[in-house]
């Protein structure tokens, strides 16, 4: 076959392909429009029973029937949306019970072992709605999935599955996750705090954990804010690793207590600047007026962040702190003066926002 013929065949094939692609684009557009109409209509049928269920005056059965009439993937999306609404926990539980065994839910859960990650994601999402303690075996590998999106959804399913061992597993894995994933896991563990409390206390008092792991668990303790964890958190303010000490300072700002203030004040003299900055921030959040002289001294710290945090903390202490800032504005120390000028111009809202309180 000559080169000319080959090129000719390629040219014709390209032309045919271009025409087919053009047809495909328009056919697909029409199909999508029709599907969107159908889903819109199903959603319309869902709204009345859903409204009744949301105010607690109707059962979940009509909602279930409306979901059953939808395409499987759309039903899962709507069920997830409904499940995310703010209703009492027992209402959530009854909703999950009503949907258990639905064809779309079974189809989704079957995807837990699929190779394609989005099928496993659907499985984790379905377990978050209809899961029970019997599903712990299905959920466990999803908590350790290779895809972070699946792990996130599986973490959310912990509340529905309510299994102490799985929560322990999630707490143990917590420091190994990326920061953003950890933050989301935190939000989920808040809903099962009774189950998370014990494992977290064990982790905080572990002797084998590294400073970085301790710091991660301290961040979790800060967010869960459980009074029973305060002694363990306070003890970590004297940990040999500076990351752990900084983590303790940050966590203690959520534990207003004389013991917390005392531990954090000691950290204001820490050799590491990031620990001192975290301590200053915590003292501001704790409104620790007794720390005012130390914070005023901190305005002359060698590290910019420590001076900044001390100034913001003083601004949060009310009149004693404001008076200290006014004195600093007249100070001969350039560092203290500049920082006082900068924070004195801020509104209360800005101080709160910049101070991350």
């Amino acid at each position: 076959m000559s080169l000319l013929l080959v090129l000719g065949v390629i040219a014709v094939a390209q032309a045919v392909f271009v025409v087919l692609l053009g047809i495909f684009v328009f056919v697909r557009r029409e199909k999508l429009l029709r599907r969107a109409d159908s889903v819109r209509s199903s959603r319309g049928k869902l709204s009345a029973p859903l409204a009744k269920w949301l105010v607690g005056s109707g059962s979940a059965d009509p909602v279930r029937d409306a979901l059953r009439a939808m395409p499987r993937d759309a039903a899962l999306v709507f069920a997830s949306e409904i499940y995310d609404t703010r209703v009492p926990r027992d209402q959530h539980a009854s909703f999950g019970a009503a949907l258990r065994g639905e064809p779309w839910a079974n189809w989704a859960i079957k995807g837990a072992t699929q190779r394609r990650w989005w099928r496993r994601l659907d499985a984790a999402r379905a377990l978050g709605i209809v899961g029970t303690r019997d599903d712990a075996d299905i959920l466990e590998p999803l908590l350790d999935d290779t895809h972070a999106a699946v792990r996130l959804a599986a973490t959310q399913a912990l509340a529905a599955v309510d299994d102490p061992e799985l929560v322990r597993l999630a707490v143990a894995h917590y420091p190994g996750e990326a920061l953003a994933v950890r933050l989301f896991t935190t939000a989920t563990l808040r809903t099962v705090w009774q189950l998370a409390e014990g494992p977290l206390r064990d982790c905080l008092t572990s002797r084998d954990a590294s400073g970085r792991e301790i710091a991660a668990w301290l961040a979790l303790a800060e967010s869960l804010n459980l009074p029973s964890l305060r002694p363990a958190v306070t003890a970590l303010a004297s940990h040999p690793d500076p990351e752990a000490r900084a983590g303790a300072a940050r966590a203690l700002r959520r534990y207003p207590h004389a013991g917390s203030v005392e531990a954090v004040r000691a950290l204001l003299d820490d050799p590491q600047d990031f620990v001192r900055a975290a301590a200053a921030q915590a003292l501001g959040a704790l409104r620790a007026a007794e720390a005012e002289p130390q914070l005023e001294r901190g305005l002359s710290d060698v590290a910019w962040w420590v001076r900044f945090r001390c100034a913001l903390a003083l601004a949060l202490l009310g009149e004693p702190g404001r008076a200290a800032l006014r004195r600093a504005r007249q100070s001969s120390d350039t560092f203290a003066r500049e920082m006082a000028v900068m924070t004195s111009g801020l509104s209360e809202g800005a101080v709160l926002e910049l101070g991350d309180v």
Binding site: V18, L21, G22, F24, F26, W118, A149, A178, G345, L354
Partner: protein, 471 residues
Amino acid sequence: MMEALRQGLQALDWAILVYFILLNSFYALLLLLSFPELWTHFQLADDEYFARVLATDALPPISVLVPAYNEEVSIASSVLSFLTLAYPRHEVVLVNDGSKDHTMDELVRAYDLYEVPPAIERILPTATIRAVYRSRTHSRLLVIDKDNGGKADSLNAAINAARFPYVIACDADTLIEPDALLRLARPFLLGREIAAIGGTIRVVNACTVELGRVVDARVDSRWLPGCQTVEYLRAFLFGRLGWNRIGGNLIISGAFGLFARKYLLAIGGYQTGNVTEDMDLAVRLHIHLREQGIKADMPFIPDPVAWTEVPTSSRILHRQRERWHRGLIGTIWERRRMLFNPRYGSVGMVALPFFAFGEMIAPIVELLGYLGLILGLTIGAVNTPFALVFLAVAVGYGILLSMWAIVLEEVTFRRYNARRDLWRLLFFALVEGFGYRQLTVYYRLHAFWKVMRGDRGWGVMQREGFARSSK
């Protein structure tokens, strides 16, 4: 003599044919690689569940860096659109780059600015900072007023002042979609270590803009912006997605890209002497990551969108494309030691060679092709049917790639809702190869001429503004 010329032309024909096959095979490979990549992003981008996850506080705080020069007309609304982006925690660091108009006065008036001590660490060298301002009404706004030093210098000043670990470099006249930051931050939720993330740039020219937001995406019916709309779709939807799989994304758009601040500081920020600072920055980031053995990704994500105005006149398009190509030539020349150097992995072995031999010298090869064809037809050294069929295949392949880009857009994000816009996209995909392509070849050839003359200027990029399309 004539016989030697004839043989020379035939050799040239074969060389161009081989070049054509190699280059287009690589484009086909990029296209194939973009399918799984696009599908993965599509699964997450349109997932309402994941959108709700993104709306939690599980995302790192971001500093939005906005260099501004002579933007008095639009600066107040631009800043407001950046401040009101849907993101749990972000600040806006605006740098007034010694504007000669009333940009600074307008900012002071609109945001009730007050001067604060310039307590900013000068990690990256910049032009002299005149003053630093905070806003009494928007605590998340920081304004730096400095001497004129160019866009790269302004971005360096903003990087110095940013207080968050990730920064986004934006142009003051770029319209970022309200949820674009959330979408751009998706890799963080997936637990990846990130050095930079690129988002998609789309053409705003015919769109309806209300209060700094694109409310109705349209395709411009005019030839130049219409062709550029298809060109942008092609470049972003399969070009850069394909590179994601190869690991050699060399362009994070200067108008809309997210970077880890620590890596920007480590490489010394933006280079002030470069006319296309974005490619240069991406290449230097790759070098840094490789040389330091840091395993951090630089992905491109297709669904976060920023809208930008493209040139509507050939004069402005000429300046823009000539400058872009000059930047490409400069970057490749400066980094030539990386070419085929296994030390730099896929960047040195695949991406940079592709940009050097595929993108950079393509206009020269194309010019040689046209000249050889004309000369060959004149002296009868070229088989006319063969030349015509070859031309048809070359143009047809370009159309096919553009069609694929439109298909990818249609099966995934579908920003253009009206059927009329779909027709326009298809029309411009068909006509782009006749005239527009040759025009851009000429502009890029001009870049070689300017490089040889040592021209390093930016030229003026005049814009029509959004007034025509705005309500």
